[in-house]
Amino acid sequence: AQSVTQLDSQVPVFEEAPVELRCNYSSSVSVYLFWYVQYPNQGLQLLLKYLSGSTLVESINGFEAEFNKSQTSFHLRKPSVHISDTAEYFCALGNSGYALNFGKGTSLLVTP
């Protein structure tokens, strides 16, 4: 069985501080990994993806995530957050079939 665990339900952080949102997965086969973001009152949108190749993937707004097969992790990081990064972040896994397996989400709250 496959599963995704997001270790923190809420992460409060001050503006311009670094942040890490943790994601661990469980799967017996090769995986594709994703981070989706949900801004207030909106649907989810893809933030970044790992399909193959380089284990470090980056988004256009400064987030990055590293696929670590030995630790079965795909943590999301940003060196300096902005108020506008306040959102719910979902880690997701795909390895067979059609559907994604989502984690329960981490709420990132950035304050001045």
Binding site: Y36, Q42, G43, L44, L46, F90, A99, L100, G105
Partner: protein
């Protein structure tokens, strides 16, 4: 840009009513999905469809049905709404191959069943 449109942002219904939630995508995607989102539970898959008239149950299909008569439209039906179906409902679509995991979401329908 891919657009996934859900017909209502907010909906209030009575217990026992039949409820239709509609979703339309404009990118000729093969796959469409219905999720419900609840605080602390994340997203849970209700049903998905990989082709017209084809559907598969997700993790929590009980109390729901779906219809996909046209490629661009995927409807979620609550045959007899109950209070425990009060939730945020999200529709998504995706294309084929590995891109099936790159899902595009609508803005959601917040359903309250009284």
């Amino acid at each position: 840009d891919v657009k996934v449109t859900q017909s209502s942002r907010y909906l209030v219904k009575r217990t026992g009513e039949k409820v239709f939630l509609e979703c339309v995508q404009d990118m000729d995607h093969e796959n469409m999905f219905w999720y419900r989102q609840d605080p602390g539970l994340g997203l849970r898959l209700i049903y998905f469809s990989y082709d017209v008239k084809m559907k598969e149950k997700g993790d929590i299909p009980e109390g729901y049905s779906v219809s996909r008569e046209k490629k661009e439209r995927f409807s979620l039906i609550l045959e007899s709404a109950s209070t425990n179906q009060t939730s945020m409902y999200l529709c998504a679509s995706s294309s084929s191959g590995v891109a099936r995991y790159i899902q595009y979401f609508g803005a959601g329908t917040r359903l309250s069943v009284l």
